[in-house]
């Protein structure tokens, strides 16, 4: 590579990408031997639930927010959306606790934990706006109650839970976009950094040398 080429932003980005996340890391065919526990399946289960949430949500969006009140098929698709969200949260919370007890932020993996943590908060916001756009008694009541919380800290001026139009847009556009970007970043970070080694895997000089060969 010539010097002028090295100065290209594009070349720099490509270089960084190839160094940090070559395709062999993105789609590996081996894993360290310690990746052998059922706890590792909860990340991909969370991701799969998010897939089902998005797929059922897209169908609901195409038919419009009132469809599920009047159509049996609509109500079934609403149920798919409802239950995939419940599973998503169950899997995510198990995943979170698992990663906590593994102290999976070790070895400069803080960004992985932090994108996960922000994704957790973003998921709560997305689900909350979802409960607000049910357009039934539950959503009436939640908007009435929740307005006090947001108003109490001034956020109500910008985030108006009693404004169905605003909540619908945030729920189907802005928040899923944020959550999607966070999830992609999170998973790419996991692939780029490799799965965190067990606690104390490097507790002695000898062990460390052994592991590095």
């Amino acid at each position: 590579m010539s010097n002028s080429e090295k100065e290209l932003w594009t070349a720099k980005l490509r270089g960084a990408w190839q160094r940090n996340l070559p395709i062999e890391k993105l789609l590996p065919d081996t894993q360290p031997a310690y990746v052998a526990s059922w706890i590792y399946t909860f990340g991909v289960l969370t991701l799969s639930s998010l897939g089902v949430i998005i797929a059922s949500g897209v169908v609901l969006a195409f038919e419009g927010p009132s469809w599920y009140h009047v159509s049996n098929v609509g109500h079934f698709v609403n149920s798919l959306h409802f239950w995939s969200v419940q599973f998503f949260f169950i899997f995510m919370v198990i995943h979170l606790w698992g990663k906590f007890w593994m102290a999976a932020w070790r070895g400069r993996r803080m960004a992985t934990w932090m994108t996960g943590g922000i994704a957790f908060v973003a998921s709560i916001a997305t689900a909350f706006t979802g409960y607000l756009v049910q357009t039934n008694f539950d959503s009436q009541w939640i908007s009435f109650e929740a307005k006090d919380g947001f108003n109490s800290v001034g956020v109500g001026a910008w985030f108006t839970v009693t404004n169905l139009g605003q909540m619908l847009l945030l729920h189907v556009a802005f928040l899923p976009l944020i959550l999607g970007v966070l999830t992609i970043l999170h998973v790419l970070l996991v692939r780029a950094k490799g799965v965190v080694p067990p606690i104390d895997a490097f507790d002695t000089e000898k062990k460390a040398k052994g592991a590095r060969k």
Partner: protein, 322 residues
């Protein structure tokens, strides 16, 4: 936190033993499992959809409650009329110590309970001669007169437990056009037109339900339904759903604070009375704590102290004799 040397070792590509692993196959199987689980749950349990309440259903099933709430609105004694920011400046709202975050952005969503809930909706209708005349009298009178009539009627009605029949006929002159106006509003609500008028506010397109929600929340009808569905905040309502369905269970920690002293006592100062604001701040801090967990001394070393990782990586520790 471990020493920088260990951090370095832990961040390097693993050079120890490996095993074959098909990431795409695992992903496909997981997607299939979750899809089937979701379909099964949807078939067996369905999902909740309790019908929404309307002003019509309110005025028809609980006319006395609607009538009395309307009296509170026109007299400015309802909860929403005294709310403060972001709807009006009737009060300071809640605070966190010296911070009045509630009114930091001022009245961003103005709601005038007298005009928005009573006078303007009535003006959109072709009214009976009695209601028309009452509305005309109201509109040509000054604020002091209007407030005098409305407050007197509101008080009299409260004293009579919401029963118009128990108000002495001799007192009627004190109330001016107010009883006729509220009667007109009740008829309007019973016909269903109040729902449409409150939402449209003179527009064609409309997305904002703030005014309806505030008005309906001022009465007992809405509150009673929510109590019956165990949705009140003091009974973990934030995380419940109607029927026997799971709600937002992940809000348990947020709901939790509302169940314990001092936050469950609205009369306690400064915390109970300002619970909404304090709990928001607490949850904001806790959320930040979750995100920044790897940097919090003490907490970040818990996983090392409480050896659950021994179970997770049991096989590895055994093979490596660690």
């Amino acid at each position: 936190m471990s020493s920088p040397r260990i951090q370095d070792l832990e961040s390097q590509p693993w050079a120890g033993r490996t095993r074959r692993y098909d990431i795409i196959k695992e992903g496909t199987i997981a997607l299939l499992v979750v899809t089937l689980l979701t379909i099964a749950a949807s078939m067996f349990f369905g999902s909740p959809d309790e019908k929404q309440l309307t002003f019509k259903s309110w005025a028809v099933t609980a006319p006395a409650d609607f009538y009395q709430t309307a009296a509170h609105e026109i007299a400015g004694s309802s909860e929403s009329a005294g709310y403060g920011a972001p709807y009006n400046s009737a009060s300071d709202g809640v605070n966190v110590g010296p911070l009045h975050l509630a009114k930091i952005f001022g009245v961003s969503h103005p709601v005038n309970s007298v005009n928005d809930f009573v006078v303007t909706p009535l003006s959109t209708q072709v009214n009976t001669p009695e209601v028309s005349a009452a509305l005309k009298t109201w509109n040509v009178s000054d604020l002091k007169m209007q407030q005098g009539w409305a407050s007197k009627y509101d008080d009299a009605l409260t004293k009579a437990n919401g029963d118009q029949a128990k108000i002495p006929a001799g007192a009627l002159a004190d109330f001016g056009p107010v009883p006729a106006m509220i009667g007109g509003l009740l008829t309007m609500a019973q016909s269903g037109s109040l729902d449409a008028v409150l939402l449209s506010q003179g527009n064609y397109f409309q997305f904002d339900n703030t005014k309806q929600t505030l008005f309906m929340g001022d009465g007992n009808y809405f509150n009673d339904q929510s109590t019956a569905s165990h949705l009140q905040g003091d009974t973990w309502g934030m995380m419940n759903e109607t029927g026997r369905y799971p709600g937002q269970a992940w809000l348990w920690l947020y709901s939790f604070w509302y169940q314990i002293p001092p936050f469950n006592n609205g009369d306690q100062h400064p915390f109970g009375a300002n619970a909404d604001a304090y709990i928001m701040v607490i949850m904001g801090l806790l959320s930040a704590g979750l995100v920044f967990m790897p940097f919090i001394p003490g907490i970040r070393s818990l996983p090392r102290r409480i050896p659950i990782h021994r179970l997770i990586w049991k096989q590895y520790y055994k093979q490596e004799n660690l």
